[in-house]
Symmetry: C2
Amino acid sequence: MRILVCNDDGIDSPGIYTLAESLKEIGEVTVVAPLKEQSAVGHAITMHYPLRVTKHFKNGSFFGHAVDGTPADCVKIGIRNLMKDPPDLVVSGINHGSNTAINIIYSGTVSAAREAAIMDIPSIAISVTNHAVTDFNFAGKVAKLLAKEITGKDIPLGTLLNVNVPDVPENKIAGILLTKQGKSKWDDIYERRQDPYGKDYYWLTGNLLEMDKEIELDEAAIKRNYVSVTPIHFDLTDYETYNKMKKWNIEHLLNGKKD
Amino acid sequence: MRILVCNDDGIDSPGIYTLAESLKEIGEVTVVAPLKEQSAVGHAITMHYPLRVTKHFKNGSFFGHAVDGTPADCVKIGIRNLMKDPPDLVVSGINHGSNTAINIIYSGTVSAAREAAIMDIPSIAISVTNHAVTDFNFAGKVAKLLAKEITGKDIPLGTLLNVNVPDVPENKIAGILLTKQGKSKWDDIYERRQDPYGKDYYWLTGNLLEMDKEIELDEAAIKRNYVSVTPIHFDLTDYETYNKMKKWNIEHLLNGKKD
């Protein structure tokens, strides 16, 4: 099994190292990751600037390709130019900090996996629920388990698994649950500050409004120490509203104008 | 009606000017837009750097606030800090170049509207199907029509309208259609070039693989000169796969490990 490993924390982060080491036990791993941290870049891609690719070494031996772009760039160029044959699986992470509920929208980690899904390659995004996490080993094991699971089962093209692992000792993990994207979102605050020259600048902070109670929602599951696994896709159509909007008869809007 | 106007082409682009002028006929318009072009930034937000906001003038009078950040940043800081009262509607555009099918994922224009939807504010993203478009007037009229429509109807919180307008003379427009996100995607090519110092760099190009035939898909609708209106949301859960995956019994994956 050929596995492409990517992340959004950058090629030097401990999470991607643990992930690559764990996945080497079940396949041939190619690492293509951003040269610099790319958190919260969402699904940005680089069109108006060229990309540079450099070889990255760890402990004196070749670790992977560093790309001075976004996580989605890494997956694209990794598959199109850097790997000889396309991967059977793409795994993105291990991110420090959860990617649940609304954070899925902003996440570079998830977007890397989503880029793979767009390219019809099964993929997994994996995160640990603490920005200061130090031990990625359990999450590495979960990635390996799910990598085997996803390739053995019939996951539809275009769908990826978004996995969140609670940052607790392994014996405190309650289990693993299939979940849906939660509804929790941020109450944003822009702190207004002044620079040494008296000019204002604004820094984004905020609090996550916890709106998820039901255990089948990702944010609720991780709060109760479950590993959360959510299938997500890139069809953004709101079919319920689509069906409701049929009654709006918007096709008449322009007819009036044109007559 | 208070309307926040944003885009991803930057505050100096002609599309946002036409949009703001058109919407001023039906409401009180506040423009908050990126200082520099932000195409293809997706739903990136700025967390690790502060934002600066400057006043932007056009034809000698105040036009709007320029933010040195992403489209999603503009909507967030516009609503949280720059507007006295929250808007009743957010309109993003008018983008030069269509935002249909897979391009919705990469689009800064759509992400600005999506940020509004996340904040429970009705929103519209509007684009014209040509990167070299020069006349945004018809699209400005469509934005105004739909702005009135969306505020009069019961659009669910969390849903936005993604609108694409064919770049043809108004009398060639076939009508307006309710659509779903299409399946067309890019066949990416990274052109490998050499810099003057003999080092490689890669530039993203590619061809859109047209996979949409049915007229109810956005990319097919605009090809036949229809204005396309797609309701989209930010719940990425793949419910069909969720239901299928219940049979995987993934909860047993860790039990085996823990026993």
